[in-house]
């Protein structure tokens, strides 16, 4: 068990500044997910923690000890790779035992731990098989088993589910979550998939261009993004960003869309913008904050009439593309809320949860 502390970590690849002075503390037993788009530096950061890359600046401490000069094998970490990294010439059992044999663990202890891990992951029947005889999901279980048996201080996952199909990915995600509950080791998990990040993390660390854009609990990032990038990255379908102008009119404040139409903002949202009359802003409305209008509207909920363009039913919900402020926006409605292309629908938009972004700085204003 160990905490991880990064201070001012930099990493260059030639002229590319991949990690730009990252400060990050991950508590003992925490499940931290590094997430971000391709090239944001998340994998580089993980590999630097593992010791597979040397940082060009800053310190990395695991369990209170600076490990910059330690080799990967001296850091007592276990790592699971995207392509499983199983040795094709070894059986499942030998693969799982590989790290223990490398560390000269007594055979009797190896057998015990391998069977425990196999039991935990439900791969007990495959121990004598070779990796090529296993499915993708089974292979990833073996890879996780190889990490578990090590009883390392720190678990690192580098996009472990990216090679699996959607259904299997859901299953394995649940298993990894359960695993963390059972073994409570500190885990750092890299993914580009925001659903994985949201569902697994105790804490999400969202990276962009080698910097931490924002970190915090999943719902905190989702509900209180600090930048438009964070608001846009988390959530599926992603948030609708509509260009508009902020207008005050006495006690009332609202946004006027550049292509016409306006929405009145709830006072809590409008207050921080009091001095910004006439400023250009981006209005961020999550697809989940649309609903079919019906009955009386709560405070801060406004009605909006639109024409359904594209309709994408998922079974439980139906994603409907509408025009709002001249741009295409997606509204996530109940399955049967909308039935045909071109249908006129009355929507309610919950503006209490709207995100207002300064387009020049990208920062969330309210």
């Amino acid at each position: 068990m160990a905490d991880v502390k990064l201070s001012g970590v930099h990493k260059y690849y030639g002229n590319v500044h991949a990690v730009r002075g990252v400060d990050l503390t991950i508590a003992d037993g925490e499940f931290a997910v590094l997430v971000g788009p391709s090239g944001c530096g998340k994998s580089t950061l993980l590999r630097t923690i593992a010791g597979l890359e040397d940082p060009d600046g800053g310190t990395i401490a695991i369990g209170g000890a600076v490990v910059n000069d330690l080799r990967p094998r001296e850091r007592n970490i276990a790592m699971v790779f995207q392509n499983y990294a199983l040795y094709p010439y070894l059986t499942v059992s030998e693969n799982i035992a590989f790290g223990l044999r490398a560390r000269k663990t007594p055979e009797i202890e190896i057998r015990k731990r391998v069977s425990e891990a196999a039991e935990m992951l439900g791969i007990g029947n495959f121990l004598q098989r070779y990796p090529r005889q296993l499915s993708g999901g089974q292979r990833q279980r073996v890879a996780i088993g190889r990490a578990i048996v090590r009883k390392a201080d720190l678990f690192l996952f580098d996009e472990p589910l990216s090679n699996l199909d959607a259904q299997l990915r859901d299953e394995m995600r649940t298993e990894i979550k359960r695993l963390h509950h059972e073994i409570t080791t500190t885990m750092i998990y890299v993914t580009h998939d925001q659903v994985e990040a949201m569902t697994l993390a105790d804490r999400i660390v969202l990276l962009r261009d080698g910097n931490i854009e924002q970190q915090g609990a999943p719902l905190e990032l989702f509900e209180q993004p600090r930048t438009g990038f964070v608001a846009g990255f988390l959530g599926s379908p992603s948030i609708n960003l509509i260009p508009a102008t902020f207008k005050t009119n006495g006690p009332e404040a609202g946004v006027v869309f550049q292509s016409g139409g306006e929405l009145t903002l709830p006072s809590a949202k409008a207050r921080p913008l009091a001095s910004m009359n006439g400023r250009e802003i981006l209005v961020g409305i999550r697809p989940q904050h649309f609903s079919r209008a019906g009955g009386s509207l709560r405070d801060g909920v406004v009605s909006y009439s639109a024409t359904a363009d594209l309709i994408q039913p998922t079974g439980t919900r139906t994603f409907t593309t509408i025009k709002i402020g001249g741009v295409d926006a997606v509204a996530e409605l109940q399955a049967h809320d909308v039935s045909s292309h071109g249908e006129r629908i009355d929507l309610a938009i919950d503006l209490n949860r709207v995100v207002l972004i300064d387009p020049s700085s990208g920062l969330v204003i309210a």
């Binding site: 790779f81 990294a85 790290g99 490398a102």
Partner: protein
């Protein structure tokens, strides 16, 4: 596959294929067969007109002569020189290849520069080498030949092994590094098993090159370390050729290659095709 009656048309095609394969095999094997037969014949039988397809009786006197005169030591010399140089070239070359493949040693062009060493015509360097060897007293010894064959084989080994090593997924090595191995152990326990077919194929070719070399062995040996191809030339006389000795010696010289290829066949097919796919 189901074993049973084939439709007539398929059976005919299959028969034709086997027939074709049989003809080609006969064509290729005939010289080998003839060589073996001569090695068992008496002088009368060798010069018999019309030629005798099968000797009257299998007799080993041609081989016996080689052993009695001590000529077989040439085979032993070849085994030592080819075996040791192939072994050293493989070990050194694989390590160099690993360095090129994984650490980018020498940038992008070093690998090409190394293989270009192999393209030089041997005849162009044999006399300079001879002069250098004379100076250092390396002529007519095991060390000189082993050194030369190792040097000549290294570029080939490096080039081939680099290709195989590049194909080993990097994560396998990284995973092993995290799991507790050091770099040498990673090479031994992860890289070697992964490239084994390529390694075996390369070893065979390296051995065969040294085994078959005639030019360097001819120039750089005198009487002490005569290799098998050089020894063969001693049987071609101005007045007459000793066909019986030539045949027997050739058979003895073919056997080690035959054994090496049979033992390694499984790896050879995979190793060569691995290289082929990579291009």
């Amino acid at each position: 596959m189901r074993v049973g009656k084939l439709p007539a048309r398929k059976a005919r095609i299959l028969a034709l294929r086997y027939l074709g394969a049989g003809v080609v095999t006969l064509l290729f094997l005939f010289p080998v067969y003839w060589l073996f037969m001569i090695s068992f014949k008496t002088p009368d039988e060798i010069y018999h007109v019309p030629p005798l397809w099968i000797p009257g009786q299998i007799q080993f006197s041609n081989y016996y002569v080689l052993f009695k005169d001590g000529d077989v030591v040439a085979i032993l010399n070849s085994l030592i020189v080819a075996g040791v140089s192939a072994f050293i070239a493989i070990i050194l070359g694989t390590l160099c290849a690993y360095s090129l493949a994984r650490f980018g040693t020498g940038g992008e062009n070093l690998a090409m520069w190394i293989i270009s060493q192999r393209m030089i015509p041997p005849i162009a360097v044999v006399f300079p080498v001879f002069l250098i060897y004379v100076y250092f007293g390396l002529v007519d010894g095991y060390f000189g030949l082993i050194l030369l064959y190792t040097a000549f084989n290294l570029p080939y080994v490096i080039w081939m092994m680099r290709g195989y090593i590049v194909d080993v997924p990097l994560e396998l090595e990284e995973s092993a590094l995290v799991d507790g191995l050091n770099r040498w152990e990673v090479i031994w326990k992860v890289v070697f098993p992964m490239v084994r077919p390529g390694l075996m194929a390369t070893s065979v070719f390296t051995f065969v090159f040294a085994w078959n070399d005639f030019l360097f062995a001819l120039v750089l040996t005198r009487t002490e370390v005569i290799t098998f191809p050089v020894m063969l030339t001693h049987y071609f006389g101005g007045q007459s050729n000793f066909w019986a000795k030539i045949a027997a010696m050739s058979v003895l010289g073919t056997l080690p290659i035959f054994v090496a290829v049979s033992v390694m066949q499984r790896y050879l097919v995979r190793g060569i095709s691995l290289g082929a796919v990579k291009g």
